[in-house]
Symmetry: C2
Subunit: 327 residues, 2 copies
């Protein structure tokens, strides 16, 4: 599905209106089963994409096979985020790195993860006598509040603490404020010089060759509101999480159990469908998507209905599906 999304000329294409087609902020569910895989459910992993860059979130065993199954090109991933060191969220990482190596990857890979992961990876690479063909840049997660961990040209990423048996972080991805976009009609009418383009998208007015000044607001359109995605898995219900994900466009929140298993959820440091919905409501998000379902759960629709009673705009995450994130 990502095959063929080739972005030919970022500099020119991104500054005009209506050119974002195929470059949406979206999330693809590679796996959303909790703890143990099932016949149809793989372990936690998601791929956020934006402008043909991939941001892999968690990497349970089998993630590299899922990437292959869904025709997702290895090369689009430069950033990997591991929420915590329970095996169902990271046991697939060493295999993915090995495959990158065997395929001759040479660009760096950034991994944001709890500190002990670095040692786990290095020990395994030592044993298999592998010096990777690319650099791994390891970024240790450590903030105990909302912490910016990455700025790219396109996106800012934040980590925030969740409440689980071991140190666990959620992630929030926010589109960086876009520049204004130039109206096509202006381009057609005035045929401006390339050197004028940058100043116009920065907000400057345009002066024609004959000296007429045209106000910036007449020849550009404002950027859309930045959209955002937040990922909360695994966590016990906690009010503070709502603060970290406030006003997010799409919130993924774990719902390992249904409402009848509230006590079990608490004891296991997980959430119910109702817990997820309460966070979504309090955080005033636009939409809630629930996942990380226990193998004991057969009726996902029941979970959705339970959540929808509290937060109506709730959907079920389905493995192998892409969700376009829009407000």
């Amino acid at each position: 599905m990502f095959y063929g999304r080739i972005f030919l000329c970022p500099l020119v294409f991104r500054i005009f209106e209506d050119m974002d087609k195929g470059l949406n902020l979206s999330v693809f569910i590679l796996g959303n089963s909790a703890a143990i895989p099932t016949k149809t459910g793989h372990l936690s992993s998601q791929l956020l994409t934006y402008k043909n860059n991939g941001y892999l979130i968690d990497c349970g065993e089998g993630t590299q096979m899922q990437l292959i199954k869904y025709n997702i090109k290895h090369g689009i991933i430069d950033y990997i985020f591991i929420s915590h060191l329970h095996g169902d969220h990271f046991f697939g990482l060493i295999g993915l790195l090995s495959t990158y190596h065997l395929l001759g990857r040479n660009k760096p890979l950034n991994i944001f993860a709890p500190a002990p992961l670095k040692n786990i990876i290095n020990i395994q690479l030592d044993v298999v006598h592998t010096k990777l063909s690319f650099d791994v840049v390891f970024h240790e997660l450590k903030g105990k509040s909302l912490t910016k961990i990455l700025d790219t040209d396109d996106i800012s990423v934040y980590s925030f603490p969740l409440v689980h048996r071991i140190d666990t972080w959620g992630f929030k991805f926010v589109q960086r404020s876009k520049q204004r976009k130039i109206k096509k009609s202006f381009i057609k009418k005035y045929n401006p010089r390339i050197s004028d383009i940058q100043s116009i998208i920065n907000g400057d007015d345009y002066t024609t060759d004959s000296g007429n000044v045209i106000a910036n607001s007449k020849i550009t359109i404002p950027p859309p509101k930045p959209q955002s995605y937040a990922y909360c898995s695994d966590t016990r219900f906690d009010d503070s999480i709502a603060e970290y994900v406030k006003n997010t466009t799409l919130l993924y929140h774990e719902a390992t159990f249904d409402n009848s298993m509230q006590q079990r959820a608490f004891e296991k440091f997980h959430s119910t469908s109702g817990d997820a919905a309460r966070i979504a409501k309090k955080a005033n998000v636009s939409k809630l998507i629930i996942g990380h379902f226990s193998a004991r759960i057969n009726d996902y629709e029941k979970l959705r209905e339970e959540a929808a009673k509290i937060f109506p705009d709730t959907i079920i995450s389905e493995e192998g599906k892409e969700y376009i994130i829009s407000s």
Copy 2:
């Protein structure tokens, strides 16, 4: 496919003729792709079964999902054999152990593997704060010749050295010499006591209540010739291997490359289809099954034909298929 194979009463069932149905020595291919998974090919793992006991041979990433996919019960595996510490042969082990733990396994698991694996597993378990619910009995592979590493009631297992970039072992599984089996007609006619059964299958004659002695050879049939299975992956062609697998019923030998890639096979410490066939011929095995195919190979039939020119009874290993081992 293994679902439903319930062996009700081993002691009684195994000593009579014609009772081995469903208890054959067989091997099920869980994955046979080399190095990198493909859209249809998982990494190395096989399950040898005999009398409802499972012997897992190698455990590439995704093995636990393959076991689930093919309805193979977790509980049948008490022995795992890891040939060497290249990731495509063992990265699935930690996930399988974790799942056993989460399912509450309490019987011991025996792992036969190169020494450094123990440390790799323990470090990962420490990080995820897991004290397994069952004992792992670790057996370090170290012999540089044919070495018996296991005797169960049913089977003997041997390791032997292969020729690869790192220390690598093949495995040979041999049915233990079976006891003679009692003819049904004798049971029907003489209705012997349970206490007589053991002495008869041990070779004793039978004395009737009236004192008549009936020769053992008249009331029993001899056991069939022990069957055997050998696993050679990964290895460069080497004459000595033929000696280790001599007269094996079914030999699995890697054929990572076709004959046109002989030089590459040598450099990478792998075999071609022709190499595999030469070992099979020299070892006088009954049948050869080839696998561990490079992702570059599309035409498996070509490999089979190349091998069959040297050793006619050659077949291709297919993922998801079971092969009954018979001479």
